[in-house]
């Protein structure tokens, strides 16, 4: 399953505003947000701000980079 990203700015109530919409077959499956410097050791990581269908978890995960995030989303969608 292929997924693609579209840049977006997200209002999270914090300085974490740089984000991507994640689509699978033209359907929105997740919103990723880059963590700002407010998050110290997590700064720069990508946070699953929202996920749909299987691409979700009660405690939202963080990813070192966008590739890792997309791989996790793909795996979750396939396994669901």
């Amino acid at each position: 399953m292929s997924v693609h990203l579209e840049p977006v700015r997200v209002r999270t109530g914090s300085d974490d505003t740089e984000g991507h919409l994640v689509f699978a077959a033209d359907l929105l499956v997740a919103v990723l947000v880059r963590l700002s410097d407010d998050h110290e050791e997590d700064a720069g990581k990508w946070f699953l701000e929202a996920g749909f269908d299987g691409a979700d978890d009660p405690v939202k995960p963080k990813f070192a980079d966008l590739d890792e995030a997309q791989e996790w989303i793909r795996r979750r969608l396939v396994g669901h």
Binding site: G13, S14, L35, D38, F47, P58, V59, K60
Partner: protein, 246 residues
């Protein structure tokens, strides 16, 4: 000063509502409990799921929590514990532990053998009733946490927990002037409230931005108690603290 068995029985008496509530005979029996006092490091398990303990643990110093581990390393914290608490009191009557208890900070604990506690409660039904009451209050706190996990926003849940901990610490004489030592990480708070540490971080910033609290260097300061309590519909009735504070 190093904690002594006397210190631990004093703490037990405080836990039971203070010396005034106990007869001379009851106090004497408590003073003769064969306790073993042990210092523990942070993040050390005191009792584990599936264990069949033969003793209960009275927390004398430091913080502890009850928790369970799930697959993929996920952790749910069920409760935070402060000095005076007996987080594994249930093991007195339920043989097998269905969760873990660990320290969160450096701690000092007093282990009280089940046999001695059973003898004490059999000889003094008033003490048994106080401990029973304690488990009922425990249940009330769990209900409040369920509401928090299921129905409160991140901001409300964090605010509610901070209010709860302040009143519990204050009742044990461990906090005043709306400030207390809070040796919990953002991960601990998240694992208790079902939040990612990212959301905990944002929430703490939001509460600080509203000048309600600061959490810095392990100390929580509450600047506007009433506003914080109102923001999360905090009603302390479920803590049933009137007995201790009377």
């Amino acid at each position: 000063m190093a904690p002594t068995p006397n210190h631990s029985t004093d703490m037990f008496i405080r836990k039971l509502g203070g010396a005034a509530r106990l007869s001379d005979e009851e106090r004497e029996a408590i003073a003769h409990l064969p306790v073993t006092v042990r210092p523990l490091g942070p993040h050390q398990d005191i009792v584990r799921e599936k264990d069949r303990p033969s003793q209960c643990c009275l927390l004398l110093e430091g913080w502890a929590c009850r928790y369970q581990l799930l697959s993929e390393g996920k952790r749910q914290i069920f409760s935070f514990h402060i000095p005076g608490d007996i987080p594994d009191l249930q093991s007195l009557h339920i043989r097998v532990m269905d969760h873990n208890v660990c320290t969160l900070s450096s701690a000092v604990v007093a282990f009280i053998p089940h046999e001695a506690l059973l003898d004490l409660t059999a000889a003094f039904p008033a003490i048994a009733a106080i401990l029973w009451r304690d488990t009922l209050v425990d249940g009330a706190v769990f209900r409040a946490w369920m509401t928090g996990l299921g129905r409160r926003t991140a901001c409300e849940a964090v605010a509610h927990l901070f209010c709860e901990l302040y009143l519990k610490l204050q009742a044990m004489g461990l906090a005043r002037d709306y400030a207390y030592r809070l040796p919990l990480t953002q991960l601990d708070l998240g694992d208790a409230l079902g939040l990612s540490n990212v959301h905990v971080n944002r929430t703490l910033r939001e509460l600080r931005g509203k000048d309600l609290i600061t959490l810095h260097g392990g100390t929580l300061e509450i600047y506007k108690w009433q506003e914080l309590a109102d923001s999360c519909d905090f009603d302390p009735a479920y803590l049933h603290l009137e007995r201790r504070t009377a």
